[in-house]
């Protein structure tokens, strides 16, 4: 990440890159919105199993959701450490965030795998297709975030993060919190509300 933009003049006083991230996240909202809409439209439309009630395990995912939430907390600490110019804490919190994110991804890999073993596949039924697509794209976002966190941790280890570059950490934080919030929505809709869906409802027009 270049740091040429530190003293840039902007009309609003907001940094360009931060605003870029905000607008991008707006765009991403619509992206997840459309994926979630697809999922909701196809709730109860799968012709064959497995259905959510057969395989979704709310307790397990509650744990991973909690882990992801904690990672957001770590992210906040990382930013605080950056502003406080505490070099060791920066690296520590960044790594902690990445680590918690990785645990979440680990849970997801485990979940995908066990679902696959229970017969849920992309091609098997609509539940599989919509579930894997939605959570898969979310997982990809988290993975990207982890890579980004690690890169930043490297920079931090080299001593290149501090109050002067807090913006870099802040933008990463925006992204990370966004990905978390999206997960809360997904968790609510797919697990808490949709997790007990059983077989197909009557198809329109028989």
């Amino acid at each position: 990440m270049a740091h040429a933009a530190e003293h840039e003049y902007t009309t609003t006083g907001l940094s360009n890159r931060k605003m870029l991230m905000w607008v991008f996240l707006g765009s991403d909202c619509l992206f997840f919105g459309a994926l979630i809409a697809t999922y909701m439209v196809y709730r109860g439309q799968s012709l064959v199993g497995p259905y959510p009630v057969d395989i979704i395990s709310v307790p397990v995912t509650t744990i991973s959701t909690f882990v992801l939430l904690m990672s957001s907390f770590a992210m906040v600490q990382a930013l605080a450490a950056t502003n406080a110019d505490n070099k060791r804490a920066i690296v520590g919190w960044l790594l902690a965030t990445a680590f918690l994110g990785s645990i979440f991804i680990g849970f997801q890999i485990f979940e995908f795998n066990s679902f696959k073993n229970e017969g849920l596949t992309l091609a098997g039924n609509l539940f599989g297709a919509t579930f894997f697509t939605l959570t898969g794209f979310h997982g990809a976002h988290v993975t990207l975030g982890i890579i980004w966190l690690l890169c930043m941790a490297v920079l931090g280890a080299k001593g290149r993060l501090g109050p002067g570059t807090a913006l870099d950490v802040e933008i990463l934080g925006l992204y990370w919190h966004f990905v978390d919030i999206v997960w809360i929505v997904i968790f609510t809709l797919l697990y808490l509300i949709g997790g007990f869906d059983a077989g197909p409802v009557a198809l329109p027009g028989g």
Partner: protein, 383 residues
């Protein structure tokens, strides 16, 4: 048109020329309008039934309103550019920035206009949604296939079930309720003289109704109307047409009663019947309504199969009573039927009879002229 001022901007001075051009343009548009509207086969300018009539009335009102708006706005525009064109030596115009009262008026007036039209069309929407209460509609199930239409009368009279293709017969002055289905991709059912279109979507059942009124049709019955699939549905979309024949209830009843397999009494027809059974029944049915299990297996073949599989095909039981061939594409004559059997792909590129029947896999039909002759004799009940 270059001006002489030393500004490098030319100015328009030939406004009389411009006026004449404009007048000419208006006249040309008017002329076009007069010659433009036709009432030919597919035209929407003529309504033979209540649904189409309401739609046409609504459109006419909308259109004339829009024509008025058009002339008003374009007129003011023209006036402005002619009246306020730059004249040599003219001082800089007064710098006006706006006028709020004007803005508000010009916001409210169009709002009232469009809301008025919009609300009226909502009423019409609900009015054309279902046939009037207490009427005795005839029900028809229409299923679209790539690239032909199937018409099923669950009860064409006296409990008789009829399946036919590409030509729908309807009694005059009676509401017809339609259930629209599709077996493959999205198609659209459209008989402009009777009603606007409605799509035929796989797994959805769409419902509409039509009616032909005898007092709106000034020809003698039976009258044949044109229909066309109006949603891009693949390679032969343009050739996916059909006909609707409006007839007296009595004629309809006698057609329904007489609907049956060709009798095959001549030797030629008997031979034809055999050839048909050997080559065609994989896909076509000829002895009345389809057997649902058979239809299902044909559909499965169609959706999953490669070459040489059964596919859903028009029910040919009543072919001899029809007027057209290959989804309303051409008149049903001996010559045309022969041409069709020789080379369906040449007539309707891409169709599934040529693509999936064993007979045509080598490029040319494997039947000889005699056999084709016999088939024609049988199908058309030539005696």
């Amino acid at each position: 048109m270059q001006s002489t001022s030393n500004s490098n901007r030319p100015t328009g001075r030939r406004s009389s020329l411009k006026k004449r051009t404009v007048m000419f343009g208006l006249l040309a548009a008017l002329f076009l309008f007069v010659v433009g509207c036709s009432k030919d086969g597919m035209s929407t300018w003529e309504a033979f039934g209540p649904v189409a009539q309401l739609q046409l009335d609504l459109f006419n009102v909308t259109m004339w309103l829009m024509v008025i708006v058009f002339f008003l706005v374009e007129g003011v525009l023209l006036y402005a550019i002619i009246r306020y064109r730059k004249r040599p030596g003219q001082p800089k115009p007064t710098q006006i920035h706006g006028n709020n009262t004007l803005e508000i008026v010009l916001t409210i007036v169009p709002t009232i206009l469009v809301l008025g039209l919009g609300i009226w069309s909502v009423f019409i929407l609900f009015e054309i949604d279902a046939p009037p209460e207490g009427s005795d509609p005839l029900h028809v199930n229409v299923t679209a296939h790539q690239w032909w239409f199937e018409f099923e009368y669950p009860d064409a009279g006296n409990g008789k079930k009829i399946i036919t293709a590409n030509e729908m017969r309807i009694p005059v002055d009676r509401p017809i309720t339609l259930s629209l289905f599709s077996d493959d991709v999205i198609h659209s059912f459209w008989v402009p003289k009777l009603a606007g279109k409605l799509d035929m979507v796989p797994t959805h059942e769409n419902k509409m109704w039509i009616q032909a009124d005898s007092d709106k049709i000034d020809e003698d019955l039976p009258v044949t109307l044109f229909g066309q699939c109006a949603e891009l549905c693949g390679i032969a979309h343009a050739l996916m047409r059909f006909r609707v024949t409006v007839m007296e209830q009595a004629d309809f009843d006698s057609w329904a009663a007489g609907y049956s397999e060709p009798p095959a009494i001549t030797d030629k027809a008997k031979k034809g019947k055999q050839i048909f059974a050997a080559n065609c029944t994989l896909c076509h049915t000829i002895d009345g309504p389809d057997d649902p299990a058979l239809s299902a297996s044909r559909l499965k073949g169609f959706l999953t199969g490669a070459d040489i599989t059964p596919v859903p095909a028009p029910n040919l039981t009543d072919l001899r009573t029809r007027q057209t061939l290959a989804a309303g594409l051409m008149d049903l004559t001996e010559t045309n039927l022969r041409a069709w059997l020789h080379d369906p792909d040449g007539i309707k590129p891409g169709n599934y009879m040529a693509a999936r029947a064993v007979l045509y896999q080598g490029g040319t039909v494997t039947l000889d002229e005699d056999q084709i002759d016999a088939l024609i004799g049988y199908l058309l009940d030539l005696r």
